[in-house]
């Protein structure tokens, strides 16, 4: 009788833990929202929500690509540098019109992704090392192309950065649309299933005859393209190209959003909803601390604590 009861409590606890793992990030967002609504003056205003959402949009776009890379049991450290590269390219090619600049920037990001993916898929270099090289070289390249900050004066870019549709900023619409698209790709397409299978076990995926190399290269090309797009969006929002600081530490924010959102670093599972919530959680956390006049140093410490708690909850094996 007692044994049975004990067994049941253990099972209940397991279930609770699993629920917390899967939905803890939504709980965190809800708690932060409630705390802010209760204690932060002027939090419940359209203007504030707009600001928060616009700030989170570029991070989310990068995090979507990162989620795919992590789902394949990889990681992409070069995304911050790709954003810098893309902002430099935008400035250089804006003279030919915004669409040309956008395409060139995307091609640049895809080229970086192709290089990353080839090192990983063909040569078998660990993702963290393969993308480290372009993380170092990418920002240098961006600075070679555009040595210092440059104002971007282009009406189309300006409207992309600050315009809205029915009150929702374009940046937010684009990020939301991409999140839906990536979620659809992961859940409903062959590519998505192959990606998860490879992340689960690469040898098994090879034995099953999946096109491992093609899928891995596609993942990193997509990741590069999304980072480049995020660079364009951030450039449009700031109305300036700043290759020195744009995208700094972005790889960390993106990885944090993905991991806090419940995607395990060991691959095989991708949670896009969680990634969105993870990005929002970090943004809200920062905003909350700043709004209550707590020093920025607290934000970093709080972010570190959130990361460790999230990973503790996910309880991964000691793998990179």
């Amino acid at each position: 009788m007692t044994d049975l009861a004990l067994g049941r409590t253990a099972a209940d606890r397991d279930r609770l833990l699993r629920l917390l793992q899967n939905y803890g990030v939504y709980l965190g967002v809800a708690v932060l929202l409630l705390v802010n609504i209760a204690f932060t003056p002027h939090f419940l205003s359209g203007e504030n929500f707009r600001t928060q959402a616009v700030q989170v949009a570029p991070v989310l776009v990068v995090a979507l690509g990162m989620a795919l890379a992590i789902g394949s049991e990889g990681v992409d450290l070069s995304v911050g540098s790709v954003m810098a590269l893309s902002t430099s390219l935008v400035s250089l090619y804006l003279g030919y019109g915004m669409w040309v600049a956008l395409v060139v920037a995307l091609l640049g990001g895809m080229a970086v992704g192709l290089a990353n993916g080839s090192l990983i898929a063909f040569i078998g270099v660990q993702p963290i090392v393969a993308t480290l090289a372009l993380m170092v070289a990418g920002r240098g390249l961006a600075l070679v192309l555009l040595p210092q900050l440059k104002d971007v004066r282009d009406p189309t870019m300006a409207s992309l950065g600050s315009g809205d549709l029915l009150g929702i900023p374009y940046l937010v619409l684009i990020a939301a649309a991409l999140a839906l698209l990536v979620a659809f790709v992961v859940r409903r397409t062959t590519f998505g299933r192959q990606l998860l299978a490879i992340g689960d076990s690469r040898p098994a995926a090879l034995l099953a005859g999946l096109p491992v190399r093609r899928v891995l290269i596609t993942v990193y090309v997509v990741c590069g393209a999304l980072a480049a797009l995020a660079g364009v969006l951030a450039t449009a929002r700031l109305s300036a190209s700043d290759p020195t600081s744009l995208g700094n530490l972005m790889e960390l924010s993106a990885i944090t959003a993905v991991v806090v959102g419940g995607t395990p670093l060991s691959g095989g599972r991708v949670r896009i909803g969680g990634t969105v919530a993870g990005a929002v959680l970090i943004q809200l956390l920062t905003a909350t601390l700043i709004k209550h006049d707590l020093p920025p140093s607290w934000t970093q410490i709080a972010q570190a604590v959130v990361i460790v708690l999230a990973v503790c909850a996910a309880r991964e094996r000691g793998e990179r």
Binding site: L132, V144, I255, P296, Q300, I301, Q303, A304
Partner: protein
Amino acid sequence: MTIDTKSPADPTDPTAQEEQAAGPSRSERLSALAQQHGALVTLIVAVAAASVGFDTFMTADNMENMAVSSAFLAVVALGMTFVIVTGGIDLSVGSLFALGGVLAAWGSRYGTAVALLLPLAVCGLIGLVNGMLIARARLAPFIVTLAAMLAARGLLLSVTDEGSRTYLVDKDSFFATLGQGKVLGIGAPVWITVALFVAGAVVLRRTRFGQYVYAVGGNEDAAALMGAPVARTKIAVYTVSGLCAGLAGALNAAWLVSGVTILGSGMELEAISAVVIGGTLLTGGFGFISGSLVGVLLLKVIQNVINQIGSLDSAYQQVVSGAFLAVVVVAQTWLGRRRRVL
């Protein structure tokens, strides 16, 4: 020498059995040599080319400058080598370097002992926590040290009033001579670094702890079965890495006679690059302390040469270092595969 310990050959592979009977094959030995000494050969070629190309390269001033500025990165890379040989990674060293410098500069008003012990205690403690989370809670090193990187930077900011206050070191104190003094015409940080590298090499090569480090990196489960204290070894290497980063920061503060808050960002990448260029495998189980020193020197020579070409922007440094890292990593993966180290 780890180079001699062949990884267990696949018994189903007939060529592997043959090779095992006859010892390492010629091509295996060649790739092992290339892996161990490739960086050194490249360094010698680079130095020779630079001294032919630039009159200003082989001057005493330039050499001294390069040696001292390499010293700090080298100490960080020393700790990182231990971590990477266990198959881990430490992303927090850049932040710990900056934190160590600021704490040392703040503590120097209470004497040299405080200036050295305070950064060692704080950075060592953060390294210890990293190690505990990685070894006992079994969290991924990448994420744990990432969190430590943020937390240490936050701690640094709160110590310095959000980065607005710079602590100065008294120029006449003994602590300042640790950074600025010279022995036999060579800067004190260089001597300290050389001593640390000799000690590090002895520990990794000649002690039981060193064997455990290789064993854990080679195959964790096998190491555990052999009776190696896997968790304790991992905790120790992250603590060593934290101590090294803190000490490097303190020495750097003594050299600059102030604790500069903005230092150290991107240093983790430089240190990892140096270790990897020096022939240590990121997959763990294989590496050299001396290689890391060569890796640091090679990075610094490249930087120096690019600085000497006045027309080239310093941005090219990053491009060249990155491209160089990519080449090295590809070569290593290829060599490693030939030797079946992976």
